[in-house]
Symmetry: C2
């Protein structure tokens, strides 16, 4: 576990976003085909339970507990064959993720099925467990969308503790998927303002950084320039990487950047975003201070990488 402590820099931007607190020892080079069975046999094993895009949390004295013993997990009808060994917590305690079949409506009063976003926004579990949950949610979502082979359609089997799936029919091997998304704050240095937009599915009044999937055959910098251009008509010059964030809806890597705007006239692509405008420093500061739900405009909550990008610009000038 020691390598996590080496960073020695609690100011690393990527360490300050939600879902980034995972400190499990993954031992990625040592995932044998028996590792999951061995881990499940450990009395120290604790398991995240996922169903239908939600995690099952047990009410505890001081909040909620996302980790279940194997005995507790059995009440939820787990699919252990397709479970994933995430890694080991201190003291060699295995952490596992499993899909469960129990309908959330049949859950006892003491257990709640809550979507991942709400768990982070409401701060229901500790940072390190939130990070482990992100890892587990992503892997379970990937596994469930790959029970069949994309080449031949045959049924795949879980291997290497769930980190690989194999097709016995054609021999195809499948590996977990992580989708890089660029999310950027375009800054107009001359007029000291930043570019924020809103997509139709945002809560009312919320503005955030523009974002989009990085495409095959594209650098991070070119993706930042293309997405900004396509959505807002603004041309970006220099791009500076700021921070990254695991985002388990379902298995995304957010890559947060600053972009130097070299044009100022906005031309919105309404297929993609509903509105887009320049915010002065004072307007952006006001936006950050109000969270979703306020009557007026608001920004994404702390923990969201967009929040950190805006905050970083206000603090350091981008």
């Amino acid at each position: 576990m020691t390598f996590f402590d080496a960073s020695g820099d609690s100011n690393e931007p990527s360490s300050r976003v939600a879902f980034a607190g995972n400190r499990l020892d993954r031992r990625s080079e040592h995932r044998g085909d028996d590792c999951l069975a061995e881990a499940l046999a450990s009395p120290l094993a604790r398991i995240f339970a996922f169903g239908d895009g939600r995690a099952f949390l047990r009410k505890a004295d001081d909040g909620f507990d996302a980790l279940h013993s194997l005995e507790e997990l059995h009440h939820f009808q787990p699919d252990l064959e397709n479970a994933v060994l995430l890694g080991f917590a201190e003291g060699e305690a295995p952490r596992i993720a499993a899909h469960v079949r129990l309908n959330p409506e049949e859950l006892p009063e003491s257990v709640k099925a809550i979507d991942h976003r709400s768990i982070y926004i409401q701060g229901l579990i500790k940072d390190d467990e939130l990070g482990q949950m992100a890892q587990g949610a992503s892997l379970i979502a990937w596994a469930r969308s790959h029970h069949h082979c994309g080449r031949c359609g045959g049924e795949t089997r879980s291997k290497a503790g769930g980190y690989r799936r194999e097709c016995p029919t054609c021999g195809h091997m499948l590996f977990p998927r992580t989708d890089p998304v660029v999310i950027m704050l375009a800054v107009d240095n001359e007029n000291d303002r930043c570019l924020l937009g809103r997509s139709p599915h945002f809560p009312p009044g919320m503005y955030s950084c523009l974002a989009g999937f990085l495409e095959p055959g594209e650098t991070i910098e070119d993706a930042v320039r293309r997405e900004t251009w396509e959505e807002s008509g603004i041309r970006i010059g220099r791009v500076r990487y700021h921070a990254s964030q695991p985002w388990p809806m379902p298995h995304t890597l957010m890559i947060g950047c600053y972009g130097e705007a070299v044009s100022t006239r906005i031309s919105i692509d309404q297929r993609e975003i509903e509105d887009c405008r320049w915010f002065s420093r004072a307007e952006a500061a006001q936006l950050l201070s109000r969270q979703t739900g306020a009557e007026d405009l608001s920004s994404p909550p702390p923990g969201a990488i967009a929040h950190h990008l805006i905050h970083g610009w206000l603090t350091h000038g981008g």
Copy 2:
């Protein structure tokens, strides 16, 4: 196309790696289901042909041409149903990628099927076409491994110019895949040296930066620290992003970083790498000057992001 020109900084590290010269107008928000058929109907359409991990190049007066007209393409038995519209070159000229079924051994003398790595190392085609080829190769590799639905096993159909696949049986939608890989140069500032290793599949004598897939639920910085720790036993402190590179074998995004080493004793994981050692500034400079094939030690060729990371450290101190 204007947004590409905005960068105004020819020193952007990500613009100087191989496969990064793609300047097609992708129009990612405007991919209707007819866009591929419309593009194929244009007399200006030019098509990349891929088979078995290789691109088909026609011998031309001054080297090779990777772009074929639709008429030329028909000689190679193209799978046009699963072709992909990459975007538009200047003058509204569509660029398309297609898998072809002709066995490379049946090719006429004037056409060669060459693997993507050799095309870049030998500099067989222009930088912008090399970048377009990377985009096409990645998308075709993705499409071919997703002809069936991972959820239900049914056959999928190409939509949105090849940028989406749909399963008519269960309704599942599939999107192109890009795998983020971290590649890093660990630097021991105190002793002014950097860490390079070699994996068993490298050409004899070649040393390069350590690298590995970023995992679900991980930040870029944590992936750099974990991979370095797992492969070499070296602990990394601060991580600094340097550049990214599209890598079409098959659909990877290389994320190049510098890592500040905070320990110096190497402990190799021999499942993963064959050797790993510290290189002084003079040794690294000597390594960079010799390419693969020299009798002595060598480094990856110019264009490889590892080459740029080492060169950047030698020039700017990392």
